[in-house]
């Protein structure tokens, strides 16, 4: 099977939400001597990107979760074979991501995480119900470029502001760390009111905004 055919197979496994097919295609890629990073970038990533680009049109959260299950099934096999040098070539930076304290809705956060990882970010996933200090501590400890805050409940909006304030106090903003906020009810206005540098409506947009913010810093 040619390289192009294997890339197609990887992509199709994501579009079909077929974790087993993704694993088989990933093994085939390795057997064929394809660079594992290329297999992710040219095979799996276009699949998850195509799904994410259709979000709220023909694709919903359910699809995103199933597609990401397939993505990780393939990516985990491929990632294990990526050399440190190759990882560094594609490296875009470190992003700390989490859902604010008091909020356990992490579907949106996970969607963003998948795309950031696929794009070449090292993502430190703090999960949900994350205390304010943890966002900032982890950003500090991991020399993060980005803090990505997710909030799905309007009652939790002030938590975004608290993280921004603490990041400022600890000097992270001066060091160029950019903060983005998003999640169902978080509008651009809310994100900026709370002091975030960026906001995006969808996960693919979040990647674009993040890359722009990093360029500026």
């Amino acid at each position: 099977m040619s390289e192009v055919e294997i890339f197609k197979k990887l992509k199709q496994s994501i579009l079909d939400y077929d974790s087993l097919a993704a694993e088989i295609a990933a093994e085939e890629a390795l057997k064929a001597g394809i660079n594992p990073l290329d297999a992710i970038r040219k095979g799996l990533y276009p699949g998850i990107k195509e799904i994410a680009d259709q979000y709220e049109k023909t694709v919903y959260i359910t699809d995103m979760i199933l597609a990401s299950d397939a993505f990780y099934a393939g990516a985990n096999i491929l990632k294990a074979k990526i050399t440190k040098e190759e990882l560094e070539k594609n490296y875009k930076g470190v992003a700390v991501i989490g859902v604010v304290k008091g909020d356990v809705h992490d579907l949106g956060k996970n969607m963003v995480k998948y795309l950031f990882e696929a794009e070449g970010f090292e993502v430190i996933d703090l999960g949900f119900d994350v205390p304010t200090t943890k966002f900032v501590d982890e950003a500090e400890n991991n020399n993060a470029n980005l803090i990505l805050i997710s909030a799905m409940l309007s009652s939790m909006f002030p938590e975004i502001g608290k993280i921004v304030d603490l990041a400022k106090k600890r000097g992270l903003k001066d060091k160029g760390v950019k903060i983005m906020a998003g999640g169902g009810p978080v509008t651009e206005q809310v994100a900026h009111q709370q002091g975030a540098d960026g906001w995006a409506l969808t996960a693919p947009d979040a990647v674009k905004v993040a890359l722009n913010l990093i360029k500026q810093s």
């Binding site: 023909t58 919903y60 359910t62 008091g102 356990v104 939790m156 169902g184």
Partner: protein, 376 residues
Amino acid sequence: MIKVEEIPQECHEYMTPMERITNVLLRKKVDRIPCFPFVSAAAAQIRRLNYGEYASKPEMFLRCQIEAQQLFGYDGITAMPDLCVEAQAFGAKIIFPSDNAAYPDPYNPVIKSADDYKNVGKLFEWSYAERMNNQIHVVKTIREELPDVMIGGMTIGPLGLLSRLRNVNDLVRDFIHNTDKLHEACEIITDIQIEYVEKQIEAGARTIMVPVVLAERELMSKEMWLELDMPYQKKIADFVRKKRCFYMVHTCGRGPYFDVLIKHLKPVLIQNAFLPDGVETEEEMIEKYGKKLIFLGFLSVSLLAWANPMEVITECKRQLDVFGKAPAGYILGASCEYPPYAPLYNALAVVKAARTYGKNYKTGYGPNYEEEGCRD
């Protein structure tokens, strides 16, 4: 900078909240447009309680609800301390943070695997349903102490409840991989929720508000909602109507599916935070759906949280101009629960706006209907 004109004098109120809302539903003229800022957890501020105290002490919760309505004079109360009332009755461990709404312990979900769905009925027992029983008591007491106020009951629907009993990511996977097991659980839960609704109605609730947040473009397709959620929501809706109670729905995500909600659930009123699926403007929303149901809202929670009262009044006035003439009616209010951290003076601003700019309201005609018709 928003320019605020001089605020006119408030109207003389000659109707009770109950008469006001009922007349809007009957398309009769009212002294002023009804308003519903949806003050629930925010009422804790009345007695300077933290959320934890407020949500875990039903008597305190009750006093706050009653005193907030008496102080501000809004027309309806849907008293629910948080969205975990029903989850407690199914064995979820509820966490009551001091500065946030209560939530189920995310690290220890009640339903750990899809095989647990069939046993969900065994988890429930009315005698252990402390928070549900408290809510019934709350409805009953408010009804007794504020007989003229429209008191509403609530249930979060079967999938809403399951999202508090099971890890949400796993629940979403079950939407695809374990639909039969999920349906089995929904059947069982719906019957319990109908019983809960019935008890609230018997206690005095005149409206039942049900969040239908899965019927939104950002969460699932219409087809999936029709298959997974609609049949059970419809059962609840039909029951509420059978009991001669007003059935209302709440959505708060992007692109709610008004078309299928109206077609299958037939709510008398809808509260939404974002424009419906396939609709670009507020005017289009009125054009497309304004004849079919009453709109409630559309004051954003960020406005209520961070704007000043004059800005809130200005926005209320704008919304009265836009939605006031919606053919089936309009109730001025918040698009979602009044943010618990928002200052309560903005709830007062909403009521003030209704009293000043919503005078002599009639469904389909808007405020200032037959100016001379005011009784004073």
